[in-house]
C-alpha cells in the first residue's frame, strides 16, 4: 500500500511540475498562442488582429525586419530596414516577442507598424508606416507556422499581393515563399522578413 501511495505521489508531483514547463530547444520563431481573453482584447481594440511571434535565437547579435519586392521572378531586398535592433551581449540568446500590424486598405497597404519586446523587458516600436496602393485587389498572408531560424537567413513573416481586377491570381502562398518566387502570379508581391544575424548592425 505504501509503495502504491508513493508511486501515486511521485506521479502527481511529476504532473504538477511538467504541466508548467514546455521546453523548447533551438532557434525558432513561432506564433504566440493567445488565451481567449487576450484574443478578445486584441480583436476589440484592433479589427485586424496583429501577428504575434515569439523568437529565441542563439548567437545572434542583431535582428532586422526588412521588405522584399518580387521583381522579374526574384526577391529583391529594399535598401535599409523597417526595424532593426542589436544586442550588447551575444553570449545570451536574442529572445522576446514581436507584434506586426498590417492592413490591406488602399491607403495603408502592407506592414503598418512593428514592435519588439525583449524578454529582458525593453520595448521598441517603429513609427506608423504609410504605404499607398493603387491596385484594386489586395490580399495579405501571414506565416502561421513555427519556423526554425538560421543565422543570416531571412524568415518570411508577411506577404502582400496586389492586382488589377482583370488579372486572375489564385492567391496561393507556398509553404516557403522565399524559395519559390516563381509560384506568384500577382502583379505586385511584397514580402516582410526578419533576419537574425551574427554581425552587429553597421
Amino acid at each position: 500500500m505504501n509503495r502504491i501511495l508513493g508511486l501515486m505521489l511521485s506521479l502527481t508531483l511529476c504532473m504538477t511540475l511538467l504541466c508548467g514547463c514546455q521546453v523548447q530547444k533551438g532557434n525558432y520563431l513561432k506564433p504566440v498562442k493567445l488565451t481567449e481573453s487576450e484574443r478578445e482584447l486584441l480583436t476589440l481594440t484592433n479589427p485586424n488582429l496583429p501577428i504575434l511571434l515569439d523568437y529565441h535565437v542563439e548567437g545572434a547579435k542583431s535582428m532586422a525586419i526588412e521588405k522584399m519586392i518580387l521583381k522579374d521572378g526574384a526577391w529583391v531586398k529594399e535598401e535599409g530596414s523597417l526595424f532593426a535592433m542589436e544586442t550588447d551581449d551575444a553570449s545570451k540568446p536574442m529572445e522576446g516577442r514581436m507584434a506586426l500590424n498590417y492592413s490591406t486598405e488602399s491607403n495603408s497597404f502592407g506592414l503598418t507598424s512593428a514592435a519588439v519586446r525583449e524578454t529582458a523587458g525593453s520595448l521598441a516600436r517603429t513609427a506608423e508606416l504609410s504605404n499607398h496602393s493603387e491596385y484594386e485587389m489586395r490580399s495579405a498572408a501571414t506565416n502561421q507556422n513555427e519556423t526554425t531560424v538560421t543565422l543570416n537567413e531571412p524568415v518570411y513573416l508577411l506577404l502582400f499581393c496586389a492586382d488589377k481586377p482583370d488579372n486572375s491570381s489564385d492567391g496561393t502562398v507556398p509553404t516557403d515563399p522565399l524559395a519559390h518566387p516563381e509560384t506568384f502570379t500577382s502583379e505586385y508581391v511584397e514580402m516582410i522578413t526578419v533576419t537574425f544575424s551574427d554581425k552587429p548592425l553597421h
Partner: protein, 203 residues
Amino acid sequence: MKKLLLSLLSILMLIFLLSGCTPQQEKVGNYLEKAELTEEEINILKLAEAQEPLLFDFTVNTGKSFTIQTFELQDGQWVASQGYSSSINQDNLPIDGRIAIRQDEKTGALLLIAVQSKTGFTHSAPMPDESVPEYSAHSTTSLSSRTEIQINKPIAFHVYYGYSDSQTSHTAYFPDYALEHPEEIDSDYAQIVAITFSDKPLS
C-alpha cells in the same frame, strides 16, 4: 506514514486541480467601470498597440438599446456631436460587455469606438474632421470607480480637455462632475464621452 502520504497526495492533487481554475468574479447588477486587465493582457496590448485604448466594462440586465455619444462644450453647454448606438437583444440579457475608445491626443477626436458583447464585436471609426484645431496641451480624466447604470441617464466616462496655452495651469474635472458642471470648465476645448442605456428600442 500512510496517513502522511495520503495527506500529501490529497494536497498536491488539490493544488493540481485548482491551478487550472481562475475564479470568475461575480457580476451582478447594472454598472460601468474601468476595465481591469491582467499583467499579461496589459503586456500584449502595449506590444500590439502604439496607442493604448481606454477600456471600460459594463454589466447590464435591463434596457433595449444603448448609445455612446460625444458631447462638446459650446458656450458653457454640452452639445451632442457624434454617437454610436446599438440595440440590446432581450434574449441576451444580462450582458457583460467591454467598450474600447481611442482618441487623437492633439485634437480629442475619437478614432475608435468598439464594443464587445455577447453577439460579438462592433468597430466604429468616425471619419476624422481635418479642420478641427490641434491643441498644444491636453489632459484627460476617466471614470475612476464602479458606477451604477440608471436607465435613460447618461454616464460620462471620459473627458478630453484641450488647451491652446500650455503654460497656464488648469483643473481637469472627473467625467461625472464635468457633465454636471460645464460652467466650471476653463479649457479651450472640452469633449465628454458618455454612454446611455435606454428603455426605448432604436427607432
